[in-house]
Structures are given as structure tokens and as C-alpha cells.
Amino acid sequence: MNKIVGKEGLSDKVVKFEIEAPLIAKSRKPGHFVIVRVGKKGERVPYTIAAADPQKGTITLVIQRVGKSSEKLCQLNIGDYVTDLVGPLGKATHIENFGTVLCAGGGVGVAPMLPIIEGMKKAGNKVISVLAARTKELIILEEQVRKFSDEVIIMTDDGSYGEKGLITNGVENVIQREKVDLCVTIGPAIMMKFVSELTKKYDVPTIASLNTIMVDGTGMCGACRVTVGGKTRFVCVDGPEFDAHQVDFDEMLMRLKAYN
């Protein structure tokens, strides 16, 4: 049982939680995620650790309401407890000074991107962040992203904020303008697929953080498997980050529909 000590709505659909988890707050690194369960009949659902405060013993999760389990979590309030919380899971992001790093985050994918942006900046990189969403209200965490980015480009589908266009337009502009050493992309699978196709064309090494369906999150079930470079890998233990150019996104998209 872990107590919720902070809750804030970032948009209609997105809620930020601060939850007590002292051991995880101490041991987690950028890129790690946790598995959360709400209620005795609840599902085990993975969420990225967006931030942590080891002194306070808390971690921050940013949750998008998309269905039953995320909705259940978003219904909880300060003082409530999540039934189970386990982590940190997955491999940490490989952070070093690459030169110029382009971070392309779509929708709620900006939340898991945040610790990576921060880490990359602190490692001495020039960080260019491209945030994208359908419309202005869905752009989240802009202020925090700005704090650790040399430049922030905002893209909305309807042009209600920043530039009008898809995330790929923003990414392509940057790549055409200057040399990018690494691209990191997190967001809906379909978005990561298009970003990956684009950066492949320009030969920009790209890392994608995959959000497959999971059960245990510890390598025990294989629900999270994806094909990377022709080999089956488990996202929860071998990932969640992989060389995007090697990921079979079509298979992943198909597998995400397993229970629709």
C-alpha cells in the first residue's frame, strides 16, 4: 500500500500524482517504470517514473486516462492508497554526452521523456525538445521541459498552439537545419513508428521507449514481447528503450490491440 501525497490535473485527460515509495525513490534512474495496481481486482499496469524525490521518499507518475485501469487510478485522491506498487523496473536510459539530442515526445509521452531530457542536459548535451499533441490543452509539462532544454518546439495538429503540423514535421525541420547525434522518441506507438521512419531516412540514431501490454513487468510472462532486429525481446526487462530503427512497429501495433 502506497499513499498518494500529491495530485494535480495537467489537462483534461492527464493527471500528475506524487506517491510515497521511499525505496523506489532512492534506487530509480531515468527510464525506469513501476507497475501499479488499484483495488483487489485491479490490473497490474505500467507507468514511467517521471520524477522522484529521494529526500521526501516519493515518486511522480503522470497518467493519461485511456481506459478502465488508468481511470481507476485517476479517481484516487490525496490520502488514498494504491493497492500495490512495484519497481523500479526496466533498464535505465543510457545517458552520456552525445552532442545534440533531439527529444520527440507526443501526448503523455512527454512525462516519461522529462527525466531523460533532464539527464541528457546534465550530461552536457544540447537538448532540443519537440512536444506534440492534437490541440493546445493536451500539451503538458511544457514549463518543466523548458527548464532543461536549449530549445523547445511545440507542434499541434490544429495549430492552436506552437506550429501547426505533426511531430514529424517538427523533427524533420530540426534535422534539416542542424546535425542531430541522437533522437529519443516517446509517445503513442504509431507516432514512434513515423518518427523512426523519418530519422532512419536521415540516418539519425534513434531510441524509442515502447509501451507494450504487460502483466508482471519482471520478465516472467512474455506478454510484453516485441521483435527487435528480428529477435524476440521482452520490453519489461530488455527495454523499455530500444534502437527504434530495429523495432517491428507493425507487429507492436497489432499486439497492442490484443484485448480490444
Partner: protein, 492 residues
């Protein structure tokens, strides 16, 4: 176990009186008891336990068959060397609680082992009846289950005596049978034991793997409760090597660590179509159903209930999956196994139960590819027909493909159950321990001690996929030798 000790016990008056009370000839003429079962037509639709357990009369009747042999060979077949004639003769004289106590001298989980041990390959295979009389062995497993259940239902449970607390902290990684039996023995010796479990429930495979129709959760809970009463602490949702590191444990004053992290990593065959929707590992299937209760409409965890289900493999795990699928409404539930039935590693009782429940057995068949419908769901599988060739290194005849002989079969769910590998979490995150190319932790077989003197290991993480009783035996052995090690290194 010490022979002198066995002899002394056998020489006790009450045992002699019992031996004299009936002629051996009359004992051996008695037929072996039949386990009462829920009829197949009914049990196909419920999750209730299939075996109902013996009645008191049946148990006492069966106990008369045991000859209380001078040389009880049955004991040599039991990995934890339960004093089999002693517990059976206690049943014969009606002292069932004494029988249960005898079991607990050496086994931490008798109600579990009485249900899931492959007895026909262990104790019962070494019974005098099997070896010398060529008759059906004494039903040791059934009697063991009976005594343990009797005690549990009697309300007069003996909580083992615990030595005065010595204040020494011991960490256990994993709450499967290896970890539980280790924890119990260490608690008995007065240690301050904490079990760390990665999942949100305790019991390891006993909880997430073996289904309730074979091992009700209530029994696992009960055994864990006994450990709690003995002072063992449990921490769920805590992954050693992730949530808490090796060095954290040392820094927090844990003087010894026992690793019982199991063989939780599922193997796949790496054939085309294996990542289609509807194809999953046995661990995923059983975890969804057993741990997450996905078949309960109230549960948030989804499961697709297949109508034509194929389970690939021939072990206990495969039998559990296929019989579960049947209970969840599969009209066609099949076992696909590349060797013949004789080579199947599953317990004979499980194979028999599966057949009674209408499971089809496609032996000498091996999948080579899966194909999907337009939505990416598995629709059919291509099977290669096999024949048995010459015996391989393991002595089993190895299957060889019959060139060109293949068959398509329609399926809407495939459960891959072709073995598991050791859980890589601890081997990857602990420093100093030695790991084999198969991913198992190297220990001294006599002491279960690893290359790091304060770290011991046992169960599937050392053996690869094995059995409950072997895991338990390892836990006990490790407890004994860790105690010896810590006692002789007090000065540190």
C-alpha cells in the same frame, strides 16, 4: 536420515504391536485405495479441487497395507526423507495429529507435497510393493495429504517451537517453496527472517502457476500463516536487485541471504507467427488466470477465452494450462507434444485426469508455424508429424521429423509450454556469485552455499525447472548450513 534413529523408532512398542496385529499376507492382499474425485463431466466446469481426499476410514484402511519394512526403501525415494512408515503407522493407530507432526519433522509443506509430488517417480517408486511384489505401491502421497488436511481442519495446529530470538537478520529472495522452507527452518532456530517477494502475492509457482483445481490457494495461505505465526516477516512488491540492492541488504545488517528466485523465464520456440495475438507463454496464461483472476468478470485483467486451444508441451505446466482452458469453456483443448506419451514429463495422475476431461493428445506432433486472421489473431497452426528415433544423451528416444508430413489445424489460442529458464534478475544484479551458461546459480551441492559465503541458493534458480519437494529440500539444507556457517563465524 540416520539409520540407527529409524531403527530405534521402529523398535518402539506401539509399532511392534501394530506389526503383530495383522499378518503381512493379509496386508498385501488389500487393494490400493482409490482417491475419490469429482466426476469429469462436473469438474470440467468448475475450479474446485479434483481430488477430494481420503476419508478417515479409507486412510486407516490404506495405512494397513504398509508393512513397516525393516529396510524402508520408500524413504530413499523421498527427497526430504520423510519418515514414511512412522507417519503411516501413526495413521493406522488413529493418531493422525502425530502423523502430521512426523511429516513436519522434515517437510515444511506436507499438504502441498501430498498433492503435487510426482510420487510415482519418488517415494512410491521405491516402495516394497513396487520393487519386490510388483503390486501397486502404498498410497504414500494420498496418506500424506490426508494427515496434513486432517490437522489443518482439526483446529489443533502445532506451530513449531521457535528458539529464543538471536537477533540475526536473514533475507530470503522469493516466496516459493524453496524460500518458504528455508524461512521456516531459520525461524525455528531463532533467526530474524524477512522474505522479499517481487509479486503482490506470496507462494511463487504455488500461487501463480499451479491452478486451484490441483492446489487450492487456501492451503498455500494456511502454510504461509504458520510461518507468520513463527515470526517470519514478508514484504511483497519488493524486487531484490531492483527495489532493494544487494549492498542495501548488507548495509541494513542482513547477515545471510538465501536466493530462491525460481525459474520464471518462459521459453519460446522462435517459430514464425509466435508473436501473434492469441499465442502466449504458459506463464502468461496461468498468471492471468491464477494470480490476476482474469476469468472472474469482476477482475480488470483481460483474458481471451479460446474455443480451440492448443497447448504446446508435455509437462505439468502444459497439463495445468490445457485443463484450465477446458474449464474456461474451450470446446477443443489439445496437447501438442513432439515425443510420445511415454516420454511426457507430467505426473501420470495429471495425464489421466486430462484425458478424462476430454483433452485431445496430439503426440508426435510439433508446431512449425502459426498463421493469423486479418486482425492479427492466430487462426491456424502447421504441425510437423514426428517419429521416435534413437535414444539421445538423456536416454529418451529423440523425436525426428517425418519429411513432408505436415498438417494444418485450426486454433484460436495457443499456449506455449516448452520449459522455463532461471529468473535472470539475481544472476544479473548480484556481484560475486557464479552463474552457469544456463543461468543457474552455482552452489556447493552439500551446503547450497554460493561463491559469496553469506549467500546461499536453492530450488529452481539452482536446478532449472524441477519440483516443489526438491526446492523445499534445498531450502532446508541451506538453512542448516547457513546456521552452521554463521555460528562458526560469530566473531566477525
Amino acid at each position: 536420515m540416520n539409520n540407527e534413529y529409524l531403527k530405534a523408532e521402529r523398535a518402539q512398542e506401539w509399532r511392534e504391536t501394530l506389526r503383530k496385529s495383522m499378518k503381512n499376507k493379509d496386508r498385501t492382499d488389500l487393494p490400493r485405495v482409490k482417491m475419490p474425485e469429482v466426476p469429469p463431466e462436473i469438474r470440467c466446469h468448475t475450479y474446485d479441487e479434483v481430488n477430494l481426499g481420503l476419508s478417515l476410514e479409507q486412510a486407516i484402511g490404506e495405512s494397513h497395507r504398509c508393512l513397516d519394512c525393516v529396510d524402508p526403501t520408500c524413504i530413499t525415494g523421498c527427497p526430504v526423507e520423510i519418515n514414511i512408515p512412522k507417519f503411516i503407522k501413526n495413521i493406522e493407530r488413529g493418531e493422525i495429529l502425530e502423523a502430521a507432526k512426523t511429516l513436519k519433522e522434515t517437510s515444511a509443506l506436507p499438504a502441498v507435497c501430498g498433492r503435487v509430488c510426482p510420487q510415482e517417480r519418488q517415494c512410491e517408486s521405491k516402495c516394497f510393493y513396487t520393487l519386490k511384489l510388483k503390486k501397486e505401491p502404498v498410497a504414500i502421497g494420498y496418506l500424506e495429504r490426508f494427515a496434513a488436511d486432517y490437522e489443518r481442519n482439526s483446529g489443533q495446529i502445532s506451530i513449531p517451537d521457535v528458539a529464543p530470538a538471536n537477533g540475526i537478520k536473514i533475507a530470503v529472495v522469493g516466496s516459493g517453496p524453496a524460500g518458504l522452507s528455508f524461512a521456516g527452518d531459520m525461524a525455528k532456530m531463532g533467526y530474524d527472517v524477512t522474505v522479499f517477494e517481487a509479486l503482490h502475492e506470496l507462494g511463487g509457482v504455488l500461487r501463480y502457476g499451479i491452478p486451484e483445481f490441483r492446489l487450492p490457494n487456501e492451503i498455500v495461505d494456511f502454510e504461509i500463516d504458520v510461518l507468520k505465526k513463527m515470526g517470519v516477516k514478508f514484504l511483497t512488491n519488493c524486487i531484490v536487485g531492483k527495489t532493494i540492492l544487494q549492498e542495501d541488504l548488507v548495509a541494513e545488517g542482513f547477515r545471510g541471504i538465501f536466493v530462491g528466485s525460481g525459474a520464471g523465464l518462459p521459453n519460446f520456440m522462435n517459430i514464425p507467427g509466435e508473436n501473434l495475438n492469441g499465442v502466449m507463454s504458459c506463464n502468461e496464461y496461468l498468471t492471468r488466470i491464477n494470480l490476476m483472476q482474469a476469468a472472474d468478470p469482476e477482475s480488470d485483467t483481460p483474458i481471451h477465452l479460446g474455443k480451440k486451444v492448443a497447448v504446446i508441451g508435455g509437462g505439468n505446466t502444459a497439463m495445468d494450462a490445457v485443463r484450465t482452458a477446458r474449464r474456461l469453456g474451450a470446446e477443443k483443448a489439445m496437447i501438442v507434444y513432439r515425443r510420445s506419451e511415454e516420454e511426457m514429463p507430467a505426473r501420470i495422475e495429471e495425464i489421466k485426469h486430462a484425458k478424462e476431461e476430454g483433452i485431445e493428445f496430439l503426440t508426435l506432433h510439433n508446431p512449425i508455424k502459426y498463421e493469423s486472421d486479418a486482425n492479427g489473431r492466430v487462426q491456424r497452426m502447421l504441425l510437423q508429424r514426428m517419429k521416435l528415433g534413437d535414444p539421445d544423451a538423456s536416454g529418451r528416444r529423440s523425436p525426428v521429423a517425418i519429411e513432408g508430413d505436415t498438417v494444418w489445424i485450426d486454433v484460436d489460442e495457443v499456449i506455449v509450454s516448452v520449459g522455463v529458464s532461471p529468473n535472470p534478475l539475481i544472476p544479473q544484479s548480484f556481484s560475486g556469485i557464479e552463474v552457469t551458461s544456463r543461468g543457474t546459480i552455482v552452489v556447493n551441492n552439500d551446503t547450497m552455499q554460493s561463491a559469496v559465503k553469506t549467500i546461499f541458493a536453492g530450488g529452481d534458480i539452482v536446478r532449472g525447472g524441477a519440483t516443489v519437494i526438491l526446492a523445499m529440500g534445498d531450502g532446508r539444507k541451506a538453512a542448516k548450513s547457513m546456521h552452521e556457517y554463521l555460528s562458526s563465524n560469530q566473531t566477525e
